[in-house]
């Protein structure tokens, strides 16, 4: 019983091998089914477009979307617009998360401050941030700074609420323990509150990736001359469904990519949880 790793058998029994094979088969089945769903949708969509069941003017078709994507990739505009949106999202996400966490720490530090600020944070959380868009445009001009402000505004409030809640949910007996050793408030923050809140902070990050992307796209809808949000709005204005759907598809890929990036971070940081 010295080491849990050592007691695992190196030679598995027949029954265990059969079990492992079963688990593997099941996982493969799930993966195949996932791909099949996508293939089926694309196939049906293409088929109904070709056979004239639906109007391609209204719903486009996979082949036309592919063609648009190919064309835009060739002239580089696809990368350009994607990059713009990713950049705005990343800045909004990073600044929003960091400043949100900083505010949460301040609120944790001073109970009085948190009581005073409580109603303001509640109101700021419930107000649709897109309503602030015109303000940002007037203040920062018709361009990227206003869009980043939008992404940031959405991310920051959610971060404050989630992270502060996480801080408060840390078992107070951990703090009592620290107190018996004569810990300062700063030590409690660094050695208990922050590490204990890593899971909460990670889930805040996951929510924030999506939120910042929403902010960036909304910002682009309102002001921009570039980015995926711009592509989608522009496509709508000139009735080019191919362009809209291309924009949406790329957006799906971007958001999935950003989400998995955070998940990767989560796995690295939460190894003790397993």
């Amino acid at each position: 019983m010295r080491n849990p790793e050592e007691i695992t058998l190196t030679q598995y029994s027949q029954a265990h091998l059969a079990y492992l094979a079963k688990v593997k088969r099941y996982r493969r089945l799930i993966l195949v089914a996932r791909v099949a769903v996508l293939v089926a949708i694309v196939f049906l969509w293409e088929l109904s477009a070709r056979l004239g069941w639906v109007d391609t003017f209204a719903v486009s078709s996979p082949s036309r979307v592919m063609a648009t994507m190919y064309r835009m990739a060739a002239d580089g505009s696809l990368y350009y617009h994607t990059w713009i949106t990713v950049w705005e999202t990343t800045i909004g996400f990073t600044v929003g998360t960091l400043s949100g966490a900083a505010v949460a720490i301040l609120l944790w530090w001073s109970n009085t401050l948190s009581k005073i600020m409580d109603p303001y944070i509640v109101v700021l959380n419930s107000i649709p941030k897109v309503a602030l868009g015109p303000l940002f445009i007037v203040w920062m001009g018709n361009g990227m700074p206003a869009i980043i402000a939008m992404a940031l505004a959405i991310a920051v409030i959610v971060t404050i609420m989630m992270v502060y809640n996480g801080f408060q949910n840390v078992d107070s007996n951990y703090l009592k323990l620290m107190q018996t050793f004569g810990a300062t408030k700063g030590q409690m923050l660094r050695k208990v509150i922050l590490p204990a809140s890593v899971p909460t902070i990670i889930s805040a990050l996951k929510v924030n990736v999506g939120m910042s992307l929403v902010g960036a796209i909304m910002g682009e809808f309102l002001v921009s001359k570039a980015g995926l949000g711009f592509l989608i709005v522009y496509g709508g204005q000139v009735f080019k469904m191919d362009l809209i759907i291309t924009g949406v598809v790329v957006l799906c890929i971007v958001s999935a990519f950003l989400y998995y990036l955070v998940s990767f971070l989560e796995n690295r940081l939460l190894r003790w949880q397993e």
Binding site: L177, A196, W272
Partner: protein
């Protein structure tokens, strides 16, 4: 030299009232208690009677409404490195390894260095945790976790150990085993111990003296010098072999019953 005369803990006429917007609660009333160096004292009482409040006061986590508390002759004013505290559960940090958990107290006090680290390593080995230094708490059994918590308390080398029902979360068998072991370790290291528990037999088995508290507001209603005719004192033999054990148990049981 003054150690022989100066009590380890001196509590004089302590009264504790908790205030909340709904009203005030008197938790402790006129508590006076002297604990000698190296003495093992248990405090029993009905649940919610203010036993833990008493420990928090001695640890300097809260201040009494009136009265005074002295540790080795000096007035308690906040947590002191002379006092170690074991809580009702182990409260090991799940993100820290066994070694890192055991070192937390030293780390807080700014005394973590190669030398103290080696000493904690030796303590872990001495308490049967060899080979587990780099494991995470979730990989350990309840008894082992409690041993790590003990190492954490012992690592800062306090003179006085306060134990707040530290075995309450363990299953019965583990509990008897750990009780025995912790009792032995604390005695071997000549610690002054104040154990709070609602388990009468645990109190008798482990201590030199048992203090019985009444229900809230708690006052001291009885005090028993535990004298068991045993050659070597151990928690397990006290339970199993000492004929006086049952007498003490019945007596304390009655006292708690009358006042509950």
């Amino acid at each position: 030299m003054p150690e022989a005369t100066t009590p380890a803990v001196q509590i004089t006429n302590v009264r504790m009232i908790y205030h909340s917007p709904d009203g005030e609660t008197e938790a402790l009333r006129d508590i006076s208690l002297t604990v000698k160096p190296k003495e093992f004292v248990s405090i029993v009482g009905p649940s919610g009677c203010g036993k833990s409040t008493l420990l928090s006061l001695i640890a300097g986590l809260i201040k009494p409404t009136s009265g005074s508390i002295e540790i080795e002759g000096s007035k308690v004013d906040g947590p002191s490195p002379k006092v170690g505290y074991m809580l009702q559960q182990d409260y090991l940090f799940p993100w820290r390894t066994v070694m890192e958990n055991a070192l937390i107290g030293l780390e807080i006090m700014g005394k973590r260095n190669r030398q103290s680290q080696r000493r904690v390593g030796e303590l872990l080995s001495a308490y049967g945790l060899t080979g587990f230094e780099n494991h995470y708490p979730r990989q350990l059994s309840g008894g082992m976790r409690q041993r790590v918590a003990l190492v954490r308390t012992m690592a800062t080398n306090p003179d006085i150990c306060l134990l707040d029902e530290p075995f309450g979360a363990l299953d019965y068998q583990t509990r008897l085993f750990i009780e025995e072991e912790v009792g032995r370790i604390l005695r071997e290291n000549e610690k002054t111990v104040i154990l709070v528990t609602h388990d009468i037999s645990e109190a008798i088995a482990m201590s030199d003296r048992v203090i019985v508290l009444s229900k809230r507001p708690a006052t001291i209603i009885a005090e028993h010098q535990i004298e068991l005719g045993l050659k070597t004192r151990s928690a397990l033999s006290a339970r199993n072999e000492a004929p006086e054990f049952k007498t003490y148990f019945r007596q304390i049981w009655k006292e708690l019953d009358v006042h509950a």
